[in-house]
């Protein structure tokens, strides 16, 4: 049993190796289950941990009302964000907590199958999950079938409709949804897609109840959450924190630079925030008042020595490359704004023109993709232009900072194999 108000919860009993099913039961206690899991889930106020922060109970309710037998629970551990390591760490520590949560969700919506999705590019994780699934299958043959699926890693492969497409035997590309929220289907079976950390929280809620769960977190964003801290850190760190703790204390605990130039919150579809917001509670209900969110639990500390524009440019270029290229405004627009940003950074008169064009293009592209990928890039880019506005002026004036000239880079961005692919004409 995990005492209320204490950490770790999700990472309880962490050691070098993933905890076995037996260890899992020792750590979290036999099987003290609440009487009515759906009511508990509802009053727990759990918000999804995959990025959108949507109330999990609402999604479950929507899926419960669907008819049909062959429903699916999809565990999303694709971890598309290059700066994220949270699902990896969670599944390498307490894989059975995630699987148990998925089983609870399956019972709640009446699903007979669970699909756990892990990128094939991470063989260690594939191994851990495979072992945990086998162990579970040996010990309880009842309950829904759990299968492992390993799509290739790409940023958009973790988008829920792309994931469902893959499970349906198609390419992992996002789908156009005429109405939102819409119900995704694998074959004829409705699918509930939840992030791995969300599933682990569901397991905790059904073991200990909503009142216990709410002893951590804020009223609008209860519980604990997992944060991946990178950038100006001694080493990249994954932490479980009490939701509502300050950004500053997260940086301190992760032994990151506590007087950074800026912090990236949420991920590569998230936002840069200046150091003035370091004392803001890390919780969606508070951050939401400023148009921010914890997103996928990513915190990147940008040191004063770095150039925020150059770093952002690397991200935007890579994100443009990661477009699924199904929709014109995304396929053509994102490389175009990446190119505009190149010119802004080079400065001069062309830079001024590029800046105006960039802003126009952002407004034109926004909201016109089938998925939210381009909107995320635009959000990120706009926050870069505003947080790094003094740097922007010096670049335009032809006097970039030392950080831009240095070779040191701080944000994790995969190499672009074919650079020329970025310029579409």
């Amino acid at each position: 049993m995990i005492p209320p108000r204490s950490l770790p919860r999700l990472f309880a009993g962490a050691s070098e190796r993933p905890n076995s099913l037996q260890q899992h039961h020792e750590i979290f206690g036999g099987s003290t289950r609440v009487d009515n899991p759906f009511d508990e889930l509802q009053s727990s106020g759990l918000l999804g941990r995959g990025g959108a922060g949507f109330p999990t109970a609402k999604k479950v309710e929507l899926l419960r009302s669907q008819r049909g037998h062959h429903k699916f629970v999809v565990v999303n551990a694709m971890e598309g964000e290059p700066a994220a390591h949270k699902d990896f760490r969670l599944l390498s520590t307490n894989p059975h907590l995630v699987l148990e949560g998925a089983e609870v969700l399956a019972r709640l919506i009446g699903a007979d199958r669970i699909a756990v999705c892990v990128a094939r590019d991470n063989p260690t994780l594939v191994n851990h999950v495979e072992r945990a699934i086998h162990e579970r299958a040996r010990q309880n043959s009842r309950g829904p079938a759990i299968d492992l699926h390993t799509p290739p890693w790409r940023y958009i492969a973790g988008e829920e409709s792309a994931l469902v497409n893959w499970l349906d035997g198609k390419e992992s590309l996002p789908q156009f949804r005429r109405h939102k929220p819409s119900i995704l289907h694998i074959g004829r079976g409705a699918a509930l897609v939840d992030n791995a950390e969300t599933c682990a929280n569901v397991a905790l809620i059904t073991r200990y109840g909503a009142a216990w769960y709410r002893t951590l977190g804020t009223s609008g964003h209860p519980g604990s959450t997992v944060v991946s801290v990178t950038g100006a850190v001694v080493r990249p760190t994954v932490l479980e924190v009490n939701v509502g703790t300050t950004l500053r204390s997260i940086l301190e605990t992760a032994r990151a630079d506590t007087s950074p130039q800026a912090v990236l919150l949420g991920g590569y579809g998230g936002l840069w925030v200046g150091p003035d917001l370091l004392d803001t509670p890390y919780a969606n209900d508070v951050l939401g008042e400023r148009g921010l969110s914890v997103g996928a639990g990513i915190v990147v500390a940008l040191p004063r020595a770095a150039c925020g524009l150059v770093e952002s440019h690397r991200v935007v270029r890579w994100m443009a490359h990661e477009s699924a290229r199904q929709c014109g405004p995304c396929a053509f627009g994102l490389p175009a704004i990446a190119e505009d940003l190149t010119q802004v950074i080079r400065g001069g008169r062309d830079g001024q023109a590029a800046r105006t064009r960039l802003e126009q293009r952002c407004s034109s592209i926004e909201g016109r993709g089938a998925c939210r990928h381009p909107d995320g890039v635009i959000r990120f880019l706009r926050s870069a232009l505003s947080v790094f506005h003094t740097d922007l002026e010096s670049h335009l004036a032809g006097a970039p900072c030392a950080g831009a000239r240095s070779r040191q880079r701080y944000l994790a961005v995969p190499n672009l194999e074919k650079e020329e692919e970025l310029v579409w004409e």
Partner: protein
């Protein structure tokens, strides 16, 4: 009797995955759709009253004339009305 009251409004929407940027829609419904610099449709976001027969007719032309069948007209109900 005899008078058809057209309550409500409509918007035209595009499925961006199907759309291949042929641009016919902007010719068929120029008052609602224009093309961006890459030739993809940018659609007037404000709902149009169904009573605007001219606009509705153009929208229908665009919907039918799209070679990819990427466009669709969607009725928007004003809050409270049906």
């Amino acid at each position: 009797m005899g008078v058809i009251r057209r309550h409500g409004q409509f918007v035209i929407r595009v499925n961006p995955i199907l759309c291949d940027g042929f641009g016919h829609c902007a010719e068929l419904a120029p008052e609602i759709i224009h093309l961006d610099e890459w030739g993809y449709p940018v659609i007037e976001p404000e709902p149009i009253p169904l009573a605007d027969v001219g606009a509705l007719t153009s929208a229908r032309y665009a919907e039918r004339g799209c070679p990819r069948q990427a466009l669709f007209i969607e009725r928007v109900h004003e809050p409270g009305a049906r």
